[in-house]
Every structure is written in C-alpha cells, then in structure tokens.
C-alpha cells in the first residue's frame, strides 16, 4: 500500500490512475446521511470560509482522508455519492459519465491493465446496494476552477446541487449549465499544478443579459 503522498506525486507525474476505494460502499452510503447539508453544516462551511487558515486546514484534512480512501485528487466537485463511492477523477480519462469502450473483458483499465476500471468498480458497488440508476444521471462538465477546493464545503453551501441531472426522457432535455458553479474561495490554496486556479478570475458570468 502506498502513502497518500506517494500517490499524489505519482498522480501529478503521470495523470490519474484508477484507485479502488478502501471502505465498503454500504458504510459510505450510511455516512453520507451524517454529512447531509443542514443548518449546522452550512454555518460550519461559512465559518471555515471566513478564515483562510481554517479553510486551508479543513481542505488539507479532507484531502488526506479522501485521498487515502478514494484516491481523491480534490476536483472540488464530488460525485462519489452517485458513483458507488468509486472516484471517476481517478479514471485516466477522467470520465464522469461511465466507462469508456476500452474496458478489458477481465474488467481491467485500458490504460493501466493491471488496475480495475473505476467505473466497473462503481457499477458493482452501486449494484450491491440497488443504486445502479445513480450511474445513469448526466454529469455536467467539471468546473476546472474548483481544483483544490473543499468539496464538503461546496456541498454544504449547496454549490454542488446541480452537478448532475437525470435524463428526464422528455423532448426538452435538461440544460447543461450549472446554476452556481464553483468559484475561487481561497485561490492561493495549493492546487493541482497542471490546473492552476487563476486568482481574481471573475465568477462564472452566470449569463448576464449583456452577454447573451
């Protein structure tokens, strides 16, 4: 077993590699209820965001825990609850919407044949708990400014509410836009070096009338 630090350096050098979660999905589905947004968590998130050092400490803790368990790379917009707690950002292609066509017949990753496809892991883990339909949700594009942010804080602040949507099966399909994309909270936080967060970047334009 490698340490989180090793894994991080390797991830930076070679891009994402599939990681098998180290905790059972059933346990994580139960923990999820404990983390569900409520008044307290919302207050906590605001309190953390009010101080750079508090936020940094909290995000570093989140990174350590989630990296150990899921190989988390801190995209800041977590889909784990609807991917059987198998992280799609550890897919070498970072696919958010299911497995590519290159999965080996033995379930191996196309890029790292010695490792298991994260989406196959997701399918099996979700399936054990009757949650396969989670995987049919359409995952909106990643906001690349979110790297390094605490996704727990974003979750409690309801910024992640529309990361994904269901196929509504109607003629008018769901919109691709998120209502409240992540925005730099503390842009000086250490982030994935390939994906710099630009300080001072304006918040997603939110499609103001002037730009239509």
């Amino acid at each position: 077993m490698t340490t989180g630090g090793d894994q991080r350096s390797r991830a930076i050098a070679a891009g994402p590699r599939p990681v098998r979660p180290r905790l059972a999905a059933g346990l994580l589905y139960r923990i999820q209820h404990l983390l569900a947004p409520n008044g307290f968590y919302r207050w906590l998130a605001g309190w953390l965001e009010a101080s750079r050092s508090r936020y940094r400490f909290f995000a570093a803790t989140e990174r350590t825990v989630k990296n150990q368990v899921f190989g988390c790379r801190m995209c800041g917009q977590c889909t784990l609850p609807v991917t059987g707690y198998s992280c799609p950002m550890t897919c070498p292609k970072q696919l958010r919407n299911g497995p590519c066509g290159g999965v080996g017949s033995d379930g191996s990753c196309e890029v790292y044949p010695e490792l298991r496809c994260v989406w196959l892991t997701a399918y099996e883990r979700a399936g054990q708990h009757g949650r396969v339909t989670d995987l049919t949700l359409l995952q909106r594009p990643v906001d690349q400014r979110g790297w390094g942010q605490s996704s727990w804080v974003n979750y409690w602040q309801h910024r992640d509410d529309d990361l994904w949507t269901a196929d509504d099966g109607l003629a008018r399909a769901p919109g691709i836009w998120r209502s409240d994309p992540v925005q730099p909270v503390h842009p000086e936080l250490p982030v994935h070096p390939e994906l710099p967060v630009h300080p001072g970047l304006p918040v997603h334009p939110g499609l103001p009338a002037g730009r239509r």
């Binding site: 070498p92 292609k93 299911g98 359409l138 196929d167 399909a173 691709i176 499609l207 239509r212």
Partner: protein, 328 residues
C-alpha cells in the same frame, strides 16, 4: 434548477451548414451504410480522394477519424473537406483527447461553417497507445458532455459559456458505443445517457460476437432507445492471422468468439482474406435482421477498396444511379 439561459427561441437565423443526406437516409428507414477513413499521415490531399473514390456509390457517408488510436494524421476537419471535394458526405469524428472545451466548440462551429453536415462525438483513445505516448491528454469534457454541448450549441444556439451562436450549427449528431465491454448490464443504459445528451445515431464497435450484440440490442429495445436513436452496427473484415491476433490481443473492448477464430484459422493463409470477407458479409446480413438495427458502419482500415465487394456479398449492392436503392 439551473439558471442557464431561459428557454425559448435560440437564435433568429436558420441553423447553418449543409443538409445531411445521412439524416435523410436514416429517416427514410432504408438500410444505411457508413464507412470509415483515417486521413493520411502525410501532406498529399489526393490520398483521401483515392481512398474514397471507390466508395462513393456504395455508402451514404464516410467517417473521417480524429487522430485515430492517438496517432497523428491529417486533421478531422481537413479530411472532411477533402471528402466533400471527392463527392462523399463526411461524418467528422471529434474526440475529447486533444482539445479543451474552447477548442472543441470552435472546431464544431468550424465544421458547420465549412459544410460538414454530420459529426460523431467520442472521448478518444488515451495518448498512451498512440505514436506520441509522451503527449499530455486533455479530457476536459467526456463524450457525454461533448454530445450535450453539441446539442446545446445546435438546439439552444448557445455555447457552454451561455453566449449566443448566430446562426447556430445544424449538424446531425452521432455517438459511438461498445456493446461488448464490461459491464454488460450497463452498456445499453450508457447509450441512453448519450441519447439523453444529444446523440441521434450511434455507430458500434466491431460486431463479431453476434449473441452478445443481440443481447445488447434487446437491452436497447427494452429501454426504447431504438425509437430515439438510429443504430449502425460496426463491422469489418479480418483478413490475416496478424490482424486476428492484433484484434484479440492488443485492442481492448473487442470480442471475437472462438467460433469465428476457429473458422478463420481453419483455412490456408492464402484464403484467409477471402474467408474474413465472407465472415464480414455474413455478419452484415445477420445484424440487419435484428430489430432496431438501421444499418452498418464498415471499418476496413487499409482496405477501403474492398468495401464494395463486401457490401455486394452481403446483398447491399446499389444501383449505379447516385442515391440509388438497394438492389436486393
């Protein structure tokens, strides 16, 4: 809910781009045939014309690949323009491997402006398998998200940024799917995601394993997806022992049943090409019997000139008049 741009009329003007004959063919309910061409590795514009010439009267459209297998080739849009010049309707493939969302949307817009009437969207092979394994992969969007972006550009007349497109592009949007890769139980649902995102037709990975394909099609029909999307079964000839072993050993996601393997190995090497073509023609005839299959997508890298013969063997010869009917 999303605070995206309000619904309603997108842009005032008509969608731009040439009308898609492939769309008409798919909507007509007649058997549709597409083929696939990797543009040349070299600067000879005539190479595309030479390769496509023999196919002109046999197929409805030809995919022009986008750095297939992560190898450098002439670009997808340039190859598509050369196909147009050769009188063949192109289907421009576009992958998420080499471009971020800015470049993807630019290239999609360019395709419409240049008269490329069809696009097929896919994630793309990882650079690790290509001729530049040292390249940086992009994967800013995945295939479902790019299909979704393309549909949004066309139907809502807007970019991912929300900015208006005037006029919006008008292409037919396609996807790919591999019915044979695990998890088998999710492959039909994954096509469903692509259709929800915007795919109007899909071309599949090579079909050699008919029982597995038939089972996948049953799942597709159960979800009603064949009513929302046209399905073209991917087919192609295995013409040598080397090709057979390459497909079995080196190409992930391809399933070759032992029965097909035995049959190809059972003939002398000199007859293997003919046997491979015969197997391909039989598979074409068989997949077209499966309810919900609208046609075939023929992939014969390096053997484009042989496609008419295979189609002829499969009973898909066309009359000599352009846009002619099947002769069978």
């Amino acid at each position: 809910m999303t605070r995206g741009p309000a619904a309603g009329p997108a842009a005032s003007s008509r969608p731009a781009g040439a009308p898609s004959r492939l769309r008409s063919r798919l909507e007509s309910g007649e058997t549709t045939v597409t083929a696939e061409l990797s543009p040349p590795r070299g600067a000879d514009p005539d190479a595309v014309r030479r390769n496509l010439g023999p196919l002109r009267d046999w197929v409805d459209a030809v995919n022009i690949t986008d750095g297939q297998s992560a190898h450098v080739r002439l670009s997808n849009w340039a190859g598509s323009l050369l196909a147009l010049a050769a009188g063949v309707e192109p289907v421009m493939q576009i992958t998420c491997r080499d471009r971020n969302r800015i470049a993807l949307q630019s290239d999609l817009l360019s395709a419409a402006a240049l008269g490329i009437p069809n696009v097929v969207v896919m994630t793309g092979d990882h650079p690790r398998f290509g001729d530049h394994p040292d390249a940086k992969p992009v994967f800013d969007l995945d295939s479902v998200q790019l299909l979704w972006a393309a549909r949004t550009m066309r139907d809502e007349g807007r970019l991912l940024s929300g900015r208006r497109l005037d006029p919006p592009p008008g292409w037919l949007i396609g996807a790919v799917e591999n019915p044979f890769a695990p998890p088998a139980g999710f492959r039909a649902a994954r096509l469903g995601k692509k259709i929800a995102a915007g795919a109007e037709f899909v071309q599949t990975q090579f079909v050699f394993d008919l029982p597995a394909f038939t089972q996948w099609m049953a799942g597709v029909r159960d979800l009603g997806l064949d009513q929302r999307c046209k399905i073209l079964a991917g087919v192609g000839p295995i013409r040598s022992l080397r090709a057979l072993e390459h497909l079995r050993g080196n190409v992930p996601g391809i399933s070759i049943p032992d029965e097909v393997d035995r049959r190809l190995r059972g003939v002398p090497a000199s007859q293997m090409a003919a046997e491979g073509q015969a197997v391909c023609a039989e598979i074409i005839a068989q997949v077209l019997q499966i309810p919900g299959v609208s046609g075939v997508h023929v992939m014969a890298p390096g053997f484009d000139r042989g496609i008419p013969e295979i189609l002829d063997q499969a009973g898909l010869a066309r009359s000599s008049t352009a846009g002619g009917q099947h002769a069978h």
